[in-house]
């Protein structure tokens, strides 16, 4: 209506204008005489409009057309321009759109699937346009509850690893074969194998359906299942079997324990199932949930582990002392309590003081631990690990001590035990024996690499006596050379399966992508060989679930629900065994507790690589060892005392003593030691580290792979030859070592080179003992003003009279609880994968150019042998007054209206001024075109680009990058800048996977958000607050429970 009205009005006005203008003209239309029309009149009759240039130069007559010369000039210029733009040859790319868009799919919106990882932990898989790009912990899984370890997160790389097998190959020659040939050969061999001639060797198999397929395979062909020993499992189950008569691994309830004593069991790092233990253990370290009730951890250990760093009290020991100290502790406890006479009798014949003299250890801490344990009966936990010289006796003694303390049934839960997946197979040594005897005709190997990890077992030699060896493996590895066929194994994101990692806790492993290659899972393969026809393994899994797990009702709906939830729990149905302690005493008597002089070797599975199966993963190779920060290789860790006694040049280890903060190193190359154990010598670079007793040589396993692929081959030194013992009783520690300085030098790639706080605690890292913390005032105002607070809040002010910027809507911030953080590195890998962070390789790490957006700083205080260490996750602090922003000449880094320090890569010219001016040194520069290659050495080939998170720019050479607080996640949730986002709706990648729940992210403008509350928490501090750059990450202090009564 109104438009019409306006039109009429316009016409009327024009009409009036024409009628009143002088002199009157004859007009043909109403518009003709109006002002606008005069221009039209000027060009009327010209068919072609003038070129703009021409129009500029042309005289006002308007009669000329484009001249020949002008035309030639223009066309020459145009062709020159075209030629220039065509200078770069661009590869032809085809965008293939969906012909029929799948229902419910929106481009750019991810699908999430619940599944379970290779170790059985519940995962959520993020897929974008059909390709998985990120793994996160499933918050609904009762065991890991959202946490996920570094390895599982990095395992998404293995899906796209270009080294993957694309079809079956002949193992010895690695020539391509095909499935038909394999199936024919295997079927024929199995048929003629006879009873006991078929064997299946696997790693841990906590996968019920696969296990059932394996069982039916073995049943049909009279086969046998063997489990390869793992370096991270101790003879815990054997000890339970010996004393209690059942093969069961109790669930260790760290969350219910007030006092935990660990003897070399790195349960927060590598021992058995660190994610589960970290989750439970750190639930007792949330001092912001009241400030009391923090557990107390004693740690006696021969390497410096994450558990030792989390400990309130720690004592470095030699592996040979382990059993003695455990007995001394038991003896002390038995003096204070004798509720279980049988168990007390095991220990009462020993005397702590006598043992301490005999073995040469300090007894004070043992006595202190004993008092605390005795005060926490039924609410304590003693764990032992490390596979020392008396690992079996140690497990029995630890179990007896738990029995004495009344922990069995409370913190050791046998009713719903852990499922390790190793309990049910026959032993590896039995297999080797049978192979040597020629009894094994067909051997199927999956999930283990015995040629590499058990070189002393005689497996490789025995393999020649086996008729047919079939290896199912994602990649060629050391074992492939003895296999007749190597079959491509499906990644867990490509295959159906399930897992049960705690009795009665099941989850489905559902594929999220079609197998990229002609691969199969173990279950599929065995099922096909058993039934003779390839079946959809989903049907096998669902049939198993229907039969064994489903309890009435409509199965289809129930099954869909389980797929969605990712985990379900059935009723607990096992009984606690009755333990008889009689056997312990005699076993320990036999073990002989003796003092050993000479250096001892302590082998361990590293936090990043574990036993080395994942060595071909650049994310894990570049993941710093949490304690030494060494990447891309292993080393011989020795104490500074040992180093001095060996005459090693301490130039580059000046700070290892933590005594002289000014002793900065300028040369980081290490001496190379020749270490000889059991007659086998290896040359290893030395790392003089904290936390080791004199005379201990700590060496990580999992390195020195000879056939691991393009990334993993030849990184580090293979120390697996030093492993002795067999099956569940591998001996990793305590063997006598002789050390010799070779005079060679080697530089290790460390991401952190200085671990001394330099007395800067007040600005950088607040650590309290529990009684010191009691003096801290609560609330932001009170904090620091309390006269007794150890750390004074700095008086910061600006000399300018500034107006505060008020953030409309949200203002993002983070809180990091240093008391919970164990330094497990899960967040670091999560950040790498989420944000397309490049791995840069060993040489670049040596240069100090690793590009982690989030790093775990580690600082030691105290003595070198038993330091008090603390991790400090360090990422961009998104300062309100960010010093990086003012110095960038091109405004490539600016502040957003919701408090983020944004980085626009496109604008960055790479002056690096921002990185210089960042007091936290969290900015990372692309010194080379890192994104083109893996670790600067392997060209990124298909299908690797599929791993890239499309929400995050891939950075080019010459630009700066840094933590963005996962801005892509915020913007995905936010429809516009003013949208209110519910607390917890956006989780950063580091926060999501943290098994310790140490990172909280959220809106600081919302006083009810978790992060706001934590920001005003008692004892909370900002790093380098004194600079007044106003960081938005609050750190909650580390509290050592040194003096509170239990």
């Amino acid at each position: 209506m109104s438009v019409r009205k306006e039109e009429i009005e316009l016409l009327r006005q024009q009409e009036e204008k024409v009628l009143t203008s002088e002199p009157r003209k004859i007009w043909q239309s109403i518009g003709e005489n109006s002002h606008e029309m005069s221009e039209l009149a000027a060009v009327r009759g010209q068919e072609f409009a003038k070129l703009p240039m021409e129009a500029l130069n042309a005289p006002a007559t308007g009669s000329e057309s484009l001249s020949r010369r002008r035309f030639l000039q223009f066309s020459a210029a145009a062709s020159a321009l075209v030629a220039t733009t065509a200078c770069k040859r661009r590869p032809v790319d085809h965008l293939v759109p969906y012909v029929n868009k799948p229902q419910g799919l929106t481009y750019g919106v991810p699908f999430w699937y619940a599944s379970s990882g290779p170790s059985g932990l519940g995962v959520l898989v993020k897929t974008r346009e059909g390709r998985p790009i990120k793994l996160e912990g499933n918050p609904d899984h009762p065991v890991n509850a959202g946490g996920l370890d570094a390895q599982t997160q990095a395992s998404i790389f293995d899906l796209y690893n270009p080294d993957r097998l694309r079809g079956p190959v002949v193992g010895k020659t690695q020539k391509a074969s095909d499935w038909n040939a394999v199936t024919a050969a295997v079927t024929a061999a199995i048929a003629s194998a006879g009873a006991g001639g078929v064997r299946v060797l696997t790693g841990a198999l906590p996968h019920p359906t696969t296990k059932s397929s394996l069982d039916s395979f073995n049943q049909k062909f009279n086969g046998k299942h063997h489990v390869a020993p793992s370096v991270s499992t101790d003879p815990f189950v054997e000890a339970v079997f010996e004393l209690g008569g059942v093969r069961s691994m109790p669930t260790l309830k760290f969350g219910a324990a007030d006092v935990v004593v660990s003897f070399d069991a790195d349960f927060l790092g590598t021992w058995i199932r660190p994610v589960e233990f970290t989750k439970a253990f750190t639930s007792r370290r949330k001092m912001h949930q009241g400030g009391t009730g923090q557990n107390k951890l004693y740690c006696f250990e021969s390497i410096h582990s994450l558990t030792g760093i989390a400990a309130d009290f720690r004592q470095a020991i030699k592996p040979s002392q382990q059993l003695g100290i455990l007995m001394a502790l038991g003896a002390e406890v038995s003096k204070l309590t004798n509720s279980d006479a049988g168990a007390a009798a095991v220990f009462s014949r020993y005397s702590a003081d006598k043992l301490s003299v005999e073995l040469g250890f300090s007894v004070e801490l043992v006595k202190k631990a004993a008092r605390d344990l005795a005060n926490a009966k039924g609410k304590s936990l003693v764990v032992a690990g490390g596979s020392g010289p008396h690992s079996f006796e140690v497990q029995m003694a630890a179990l007896a001590l738990n029995g004495l303390l009344g922990n069995i049934g409370s913190t050791l839960d046998f009713e719903r035990p852990m499922v390790l997946g190793t309990e049910l197979g026959s032993s590896f040594s039995e297999l080797v024996k049978d192979m040597n005897a020629g009894a094994v005709k067909v051997l199927v190997i999956q999930g283990t690499n015995p040629v590499y990890s058990n070189p002393n077992s005689g497996f490789e030699a025995a393999a020649s006596k086996v008729g047919l060896i079939v290896q199912l493996s994602p990649e060629i590895n050391e074992t492939s050379k003895i296999a007749n066929f190597v079959l491509p194994e499906s990644h867990f994101l490509e295959a159906w399966g399930d897992s049960e990692i705690r009795a009665g806790v099941y989850s489905i492993q559902q594929p999220v992508i079609e197998p990229l290659y002609l691969s199969k899972s173990l279950g599929e393969l065995l099922d096909e060989w058993t039934t003779g026809t390839p079946r959809n393994y989903r049907d096998v899994v669902s049939a198993y679930w229907q039969k064994n797990i489903h309890r009435g009702g409509d199965f289809k709906n129930w099954w869909m629900e389980q797929l969605k939830a990712g985990a379900m729990t059935t009723a607990a149905n096992r009984r606690s065994p009755g333990f008889k302690w009689g056997a312990v005493a005699s076993a320990i008597e036999r073990a002989k507790i003796e003092r050993s002089t000479g250096p001892e070797v302590a082998l361990y599975a590293s936090v990043a690589l574990g036993d080395g199966a994942l060595a071909n993963n650049p994310y894990l190779q570049e993941l710093p060892d949490p304690v030494t920060k060494v990447t891309w290789g292993n080393f011989a860790g020795v104490s500074s005392g040992t180093a001095k006694s060996l005459g090693l040049n301490l130039n580059h280890y000046k700070d290892a003593d933590l005594k002289d903060p000014k002793a900065l190193a300028s040369d980081f190359s290490s001496d190379v030691l020749e270490v000889t154990v059991n007659g086998k010598s290896l040359e290893l670079p030395v790392f003089v580290q904290t936390g080791l007793a004199d005379g201990v040589v700590a060496v990580a396993l999992g390195y020195g792979r000879s056939a691991a692929g393009q990334i993993g081959t030849g990184v580090g030194v293979d120390a697996s030859g030093w492993i002795s013992g067999e099956d569940g009783r591998l001996k990793l520690r305590g063997a006598q070592a002789s050390l010799r300085k070779t005079g060679k030098k080697y530089e290790l790639a460390c991401t952190q080179k200085h671990f001394n706080l330099q007395g800067r605690d007040v600005d950088i890292l607040h650590q309290y003992t529990s009684s010191e913390f009691a003096h801290v005032g609560s609330g932001e105002a009170a904090h620091g003003s309390s006269a007794n607070d150890k750390f004074k809040k700095p008086h910061v002010f600006s000399i300018y009279d500034e107006k505060e910027f008020v953030y409309p809507g949200s203002k993002w911030g983070m809180a990091v609880d240093l008391n919970s953080c164990t330094g497990c590195n899960a967040c670091v890998v999560g950040c790498y994968i989420e944000n397309n962070v490049s791995t840069v390789g060993r040489d670049e790490v040596i240069m100090g150019r690793h590009s982690a957006w989030l790093r775990l700083d580690l600082y030691h205080t105290g003595t070198s042998e038993n330091p008090e260490s603390c991790f400090e996750p360090m990422m961009c602090q998104h300062c309100d007054k960010a010093p990086c922003e003012t110095v960038c000449p091109v405004l490539a880094t600016v502040h957003s209206s919701d408090g983020l320090n944004d980085m626009s890569y496109n604008r960055c010219v790479g002056t690096r001024y921002c990185a210089n001016n960042c007091p936290y040194k969290v900015r990372r520069f692309n010194w080379f075109q890192y994104s083109d290659k893996l670790a600067m050495k392997v060209e990124k080939q298909d299908p690797l680009p599929m791993l890239i998170n499309p929400d995050v720019s891939v950075r080019t050479r010459g630009v700066m990058e840094k933590c963005t607080f996962c801005v892509q996640r915020i913007r995905t949730e936010q429809k516009d800048r003013m949208t209110k986002i519910a607390d917890g709706q956006v989780k950063t990648a580091c926060q999501q996977s943290c098994p310790a729940d140490a990172i909280v992210f959220g809106d600081l403008n919302d006083p009810q958000s978790r992060v706001s509350k934590l920001a005003h928490q008692k004892g909370g501090f900002k790093v380098l607050e004194v600079l007044n750059v106003r960081p938005n990450v609050t750190y909650l202090p580390r509290i050592r429970n040194k003096d509170s009564a239990v």
Partner: protein, 454 residues
């Protein structure tokens, strides 16, 4: 010497005006010596190598340099500041000494100004190539209209101030130098026997006829340009020092930097002038124009500015202690006693101890000694920037990030290459441009019967 009140003549050898023109123009008009060719060949090769390295670095990435986290600036910024500092002596000699009517400057101002321009050219390369993406920084650092929306440069960033300061400095220096050259180009033109030479120098002389009016305008223009250049002597290095002083890094964040940098710049600049002229006066036979008196005067300035620099070092240390800031204290103690102590003591040795020889007149007038000492000063001033840039960054707030910085062969190559560029340009200058301001020297000739009094 006999009459202490009388000044020594500024030009020796009882020269006539014609002698001066002949002497100064000779290198331009005769065939170059073998020595010149040899020197030029060496310089040119070094320069070519330098540019080759720079080219490859642009192709591969900034990572070829030794810079690493947390030392984000290394050889390139050090050398940038070094060359900018070198340039300062030229401007000081030509502008400030002109305004103060220091007549002795006339013999050396031409070459000193040339040195300034070449040094700024050398300097100007480094901030560009040190960036990660030089192909963008070459023009994104200028406030040019662009298609990226309302995207402007950051006027708060000292690096941007640098861009303006250095480009202004270069422009003014060039114009100033050229203005002074016009009458001399005219002299060369007038002496030219060959047609091409006449054309080229005629073009460069801008039609100079030596008329009264011409001279009058020239004098005014020269005075104005001298006036314009004078604040630049102070401002350029002040602004360069802001790159550091405006940051929050301990060892950088300090208010003493502007005067400290300016003093250091003049110090190093004069040392470079001495280095060059000691050689040039012999090679081009100009001993009678660039006399021992000139060299001694410059040595006095080296002594004075060297003392200033020493005072600055001491003040820094004192303030670091007096401020009570632990980070500052640490940085300074670490400089002197930490892993970089070697560079610190090279700096102190070369910059504070070396000039002390110049307290003695006999040493001030000892040419081999002053040549060696001037080289030491140049070395020391490069290390001063090394100490400032590297030690502050390597060990700042969080010990977890500390690292040790090392130069790579690429760094050394590019650094040496910049000297190649400098000497190539300087040799071309000696060959094609009158190295002494003919007209100005003539004005300060001792005239018969009356000593010239300033």
């Amino acid at each position: 010497m006999k009459n202490t009140l009388a000044e020594d003549p500024l030009v020796l050898g009882n020269k006539t005006y014609a002698d001066i023109t002949n002497d100064v123009c000779r290198p331009l008009e005769s065939f170059p010596t073998k020595m010149w060719y040899a020197a030029f060949a060496i310089s040119l090769s070094i320069m070519t190598m330098g540019f080759g390295l720079i080219g490859y670095m642009m192709y591969k990435g900034a990572g070829l340099s030794g810079i690493r986290s947390p030392v984000g600036w290394g050889m390139m910024i050090i050398t940038f500041v070094f060359w900018i500092g070198i340039g300062h002596a030229g401007t000081l000699i030509s502008a400030i000494l002109f305004l103060f009517k220091q007549k002795w400057r006339t013999a050396i101002n031409r070459s000193a100004e040339a040195m300034t321009i070449f040094a700024v050219m050398c300097a100007g390369i480094f901030p560009l190539i040190h960036t990660g993406r030089p192909w963008y920084s070459a023009y994104w650092l200028f406030p040019l209209p662009n298609v990226m929306g309302p995207l402007w440069v950051n006027f708060r960033s000292p690096l941007l101030w640098d861009v303006f300061a250095v480009s202004t400095y270069f422009t003014i220096s060039l114009v100033f130098w050229y203005t002074g050259l016009v009458p001399d180009f005219a002299s060369v033109r007038d002496r030219a026997k060959n047609w091409l030479r006449k054309k080229i120098y005629g073009f460069l002389a801008l039609g100079w006829r030596g008329s009264n009016r011409g001279w009058s305008s020239y004098e005014v223009a020269y005075m104005i340009l001298a006036g314009l250049s004078t604040p630049l002597v102070l401002s350029v290095h002040t602004i360069v020092s802001f790159d550091f002083a405006v940051s929050i890094i301990p060892g950088w964040h300090t208010t003493i930097f502007p005067p400290y940098f300016v003093a250091g710049a003049i110090f190093s600049g004069f040392a470079m002038v001495v280095t060059l002229l000691v050689v040039a006066r012999v090679v081009f036979n100009l001993q009678e124009y660039i006399t021992l008196n000139h060299l001694e005067a410059m040595n006095k300035i080296i002594l004075a500015t060297g003392m200033l620099v020493g005072l600055a070092y001491a003040t820094e240390f004192f303030i670091a202690w007096y401020s009570g800031v632990p980070y500052e204290r640490f940085i300074f103690i670490n400089r002197a006693m930490g892993p970089y102590a070697w560079s610190y003591w090279i700096m102190i040795g070369c910059n504070v101890l070396t000039p002390q020889f110049f307290w003695f007149k006999s040493l001030r007038r000892n040419i081999p000694l002053m040549f060696v000492l001037s080289l030491f000063v140049n070395l020391g001033m490069w290390f001063e920037r090394f100490v400032i840039v590297v030690t502050s960054l390597a060990t700042d707030f969080l010990p977890s990030s500390w690292n040790y910085f090392r130069l790579t062969p690429w760094d050394y190559g590019t650094l040496i290459g910049s000297f190649g560029l400098f000497f190539t340009l300087f040799l071309l200058f000696c060959r094609f441009v009158p190295t002494i301001a003919i007209a100005e020297v003539k004005a300060i000739m001792p005239t018969k019967g009356s000593q010239h009094h300033g």
